[in-house]
């Protein structure tokens, strides 16, 4: 492909590609996202390619290895157009049948279609799957038909027309005004109005400015930035280009963690392709706008998702935050004005420009506009990436899309926003996914992680887990974060191990408040949230640990004992054989007994027993 020197050449290329594709009647889209790759979708891709060649269809059928489709639970996932046929749990052995029946003859294969476990209804097309039906997929749906390694696919799908529109007929003020009135807020966690950020950077003095894409996602259970960058890197880059043009930057960085090899690879390919075709470099599309993007790889420190730490890391320094009394929009990367936005924020920009701010602002609530991608994980039937309009109740996400708890238990709580967020109990599930609503409830939308927890979860243990995570990931620079988290963990460990005292709860509360108010950066300021929210909504659990020395959920090992209920045990001996510590005794057909001295509370006997005779209390 030759360099594009004008807007007309871009449109011409799009037209050319459209003509080329006209001969292709059928497209087989295999999900190549990280979730499906883990369920060996690469083998499926190879098998499809081989089978298409063998059946002589390779010229008529396009095989497209796409980014994440969202329904990771059901991977590997294949979608066949025309017909929008949706197959799940596809193995390489099914490929012959798929190509022969569906691709060549247009017949659906019943056993590969998705059957809803609740209603028992089989969905023929993707649109009929309940998981997708309740969603509003503005960004994720763009993953569907695009090979992330192909700039042609992106251009064909209308890509870079927002950039072209901006360069052709909009002023920087106009672009910023559009973003301001769209009400877009940062998707990375803070929820800061993107328009205001751009305005401040645009107003900041200096010729040299930067834009950065923050792809240093690291919350346990969250992977939406990863999937957007892996699945559609050009979309993110187009957003960055528009932002750069609006604020007057000539250089951008995509800061992506090295643990995301596919995201690194795809964004590198995207940058090279865009450079080759002249969408990056000097005088883009014949305009006066020059811009280039570099990939900066992060070493995997959670704190490097914080803006100042990230910038230090890009500069080659130790990734530690610095005080932000002067904001990074004025004094950022290399002490120049810098706009730092999250992957998802950038990905929203092109469609706002194309469809207008009022289109974007029509979705969502008064304070939070547009859609948000959530990573639904935990004890829920349908795990995966979910994109819903802001303002959707948590209940809809957990039950209608997620399908409720996956193991017969009842859902107890949901943890939103990762380690910086909080736990909300089930009676608050009518709360909407909305920056302000969740913040007031002591949690946050955050980057969009949503971990569903069932009744077998101990909330004190959850708080302990997140404190452990944060203690490892705190940079250790400021005192409240380093020592405060350490002491909170010390107290909670005491509580879970039966050494807790009632007055420690007040100390925990006071310490958490202190850390939240005095820590240096966002990580420390939000670090107490898991503790504060569980203390607020699940205080009786803490009290049970301290006063009765009991763990109601039976999780904290020091506080539970395992025993066998005599009337349920039929002496089958499965638990006896399973116990690696030799703590179970009993002869055949007789009631077995657990020796509390020897029992290590590993839980094997409980999971092995088919008669539910092992009791934890």
């Amino acid at each position: 492909m030759s360099r594009l020197n004008s807007f007309r050449e871009l449109e011409h290329l799009r037209e050319q590609l459209r003509e080329q594709r006209q001969s292709i009647a059928t497209t087989v889209m295999v999900c190549g996202g990280t979730g499906c790759k883990a369920s060996r979708s690469q083998a499926v891709v190879d098998a499809v390619r081989e089978e298409l060649t063998r059946q002589g269809l390779d010229m008529k059928v396009r095989l497209c290895v796409t980014g994440c489709h969202g329904f990771c639970e059901q991977g590997p996932v294949i979608i066949i157009e025309p017909g929008n046929v949706f197959y799940c749990h596809v193995s390489p052995d099914d490929v012959f049948e798929i190509v022969y029946q569906t691709v060549a003859n247009g017949k659906a294969i019943e056993r590969l279609l998705y059957t809803d476990p609740i209603s028992g209804v089989t969905a023929r097309t993707m649109a009929e799957v309940p998981f997708y039906r309740a969603q509003d997929r503005q960004i994720l749906s763009q993953n569907l038909n695009i090979d992330p390694c192909s700039i042609e696919d992106y251009i064909l799908a209308g890509g870079y027309s927002a950039l072209s529109k901006v360069l052709r007929g909009m002023t920087p003020e106009g672009v910023i005004k559009e973003i301001v009135s769209s009400g877009l807020r940062g998707r990375g966690g803070g929820g800061f109005p993107t328009g205001r950020k751009w305005t401040e950077c645009w107003e900041a003095p200096g010729d040299e400015k930067y834009v950065i894409c923050n792809a240093d996602e690291g919350d346990p259970g969250a992977y939406m930035d990863r999937c957007v960058l892996e699945g559609n890197p050009h979309l993110v880059m187009e957003g960055m280009m528009i932002g750069a043009w609006a604020v007057g930057a000539r250089k951008g960085y995509i800061y992506v963690r090295n643990e995301y090899p596919l995201a690194v690879k795809h964004s590198r390919i995207a940058v090279e392709q865009a450079r080759k075709i002249g969408l990056l470099g000097d005088n883009i599309l014949g305009s006066s706008f020059s811009f280039d993007v570099d990939i900066a790889r992060g070493g995997g420190a959670f704190v490097c998702g914080e803006s100042t730490a990230l910038m230090a890391s890009v500069e080659g320094k130790v990734g530690e935050p610095r005080p932000k009394d002067v904001h990074t929009v004025v004094d950022g990367l290399y002490h120049k004005p810098t706009v730092l936005n999250n992957v998802e924020t950038w990905a929203n920009v092109p469609s706002i420009i194309m469809n207008g701010s009022s289109w974007f602002a029509s979705k969502g609530t008064s304070g939070s506009k547009g859609t948000k991608i959530l990573a639904l994980t935990g004890h829920v039937k349908n795990t995966g990436l979910v994109e819903v309009a802001m303002g959707t109740p948590i209940r809809t996400v957990v039950y209608d899309i997620g399908g409720g708890a996956n193991n017969g238990n009842r859902v107890k709580a949901v943890q939103t926003g990762g380690p910086s967020g909080g736990c909300l109990p089930v009676d608050m599930f009518d709360l909407a996914v909305d920056f302000d609503v969740l913040y007031q409830a002591g949690s946050m939308v955050g980057s969009g992680g949503m971990v569903v927890m069932d009744e077998a979860t101990c909330m004190v243990d959850v708080a302990k887990y997140f404190l452990n995570f944060l203690q490892d990931e705190s940079c250790g620079k400021c005192l409240p974060c380093r020592l405060g988290i350490d002491r909170m963990l010390e107290i909670i460990t005491d509580i879970t191990e039966g050494r807790g005292k009632p007055e420690q709860l007040d100390l925990l509360q006071e310490l958490a408040d202190t850390v939240a108010q005095t820590a240096l950066c966002g990580l420390g300021k939000t670090a107490p949230n898991p503790v504060l929210s569980t203390l607020r909504y699940f205080r009786p659990e803490y009290e049970a640990h301290i006063n009765q020395k009991k763990c109601p959920a039976g999780v904290c090992k020091a506080l539970v004992t395992y025993s066998i209920e005599p009337d349920k045990c039929n002496g089958c001996g499965v638990c006896l054989r399973g116990c690696v510590y030799g703590a179970i005794s009993g002869s055949k057909k007789q009631v077995h007994v657990i020796d509390a001295e020897l029992c290590q509370k590993c839980g094997i006997c409980r999971s092995e027993c088919k008669f539910d005779a092992v009791k934890v209390a």
């Binding site: 005080p323 203690q471 010390e490 100390l507 202190t514 820590a519």
Partner: protein, 228 residues
């Protein structure tokens, strides 16, 4: 010509040098804000958080460190509100529980009104204030010591753990270390750490005048207003 700005610190209008920090200005005018990691001739990193103040903007106050906050025209700062005193006391409590064997830290705890320590004492040798690291880098341009590790593993060390040849043996690091500034009369034995009672005379002053400056040993090395 030196530019001046008017800032309001605790109700007093101060004609401060433009570009100075709030902490520096306050100390110069005799308002003592407790601090640990700040050294007048070194850069400020806001690590110890003891110098927190309330910064009131449009009627809303935010807590921030005064060492990293630059004075601006019309700024309203409150260094000694109930909220700040409570937060500072909690921070000092964390600090003294970590390193009870330093006179400087004990003084800070006293100065910030710590009456009891609710955490088990630890006997750390270092509180990671970073004074040594910065003096080595910024004054002597040696960079013979630095921070190594992250989070709970963070510690001060030589590059790769070996004392380098380019260490200038100036011993500035030792002079600035709060753990070596007049250590306590006798190191507390492990298991016997406590909030020190040897400075009881100071405790009385601190009790009577809440938020008043105790003439602490640490202030001497900080070039605190009382010593200037």
């Amino acid at each position: 010509m030196l530019k001046r700005v008017d800032v309001n610190i605790d109700g007093a209008i101060i004609h401060a040098n433009k570009g100075a920090s709030v902490l520096g200005t306050a100390i110069e005018y005799g308002i003592c804000i407790p601090h640990l990691c700040h050294v007048p001739y070194l850069s400020d990193i806001g690590a110890c958080r003891l110098c927190i103040v309330e910064h009131v903007v449009n009627g809303r106050s935010s807590v921030t460190t005064s060492c990293t906050l630059k004075v601006e025209e019309g700024m309203v700062i409150m260094t000694n509100t109930d909220r700040i005193r409570k937060l500072r006391r909690n921070l000092a409590e964390l600090l003294v529980a970590q390193a009870p064997n330093s006179r400087a830290i004990q003084d800070i705890a006293l100065r910030c009104g710590v009456k009891e320590v609710r955490y088990p004492f630890r006997n750390a040798d270092c509180v990671l204030c970073g004074r040594c690291v910065r003096v080595c880098d910024e004054v002597w341009k040696a960079r013979a010591i630095g921070f190594v590790g992250r989070g709970r593993d963070r510690h001060v060390d030589y590059p790769f753990g070996v004392k380098p040849e380019f260490c200038k043996k100036c011993e500035s690091c030792i002079q600035l270390c709060p753990m070596t500034i007049t250590p306590c009369n006798g190191p507390m034995k492990p298991g016997e750490e406590r909030l020190c009672g040897n400075c009881e005379s100071q405790l009385i002053i601190a009790d009577e005048m809440v938020g008043s400056c105790v003439w602490c040993k640490l202030g001497e090395s900080f070039a605190c207003g009382r010593y200037v």
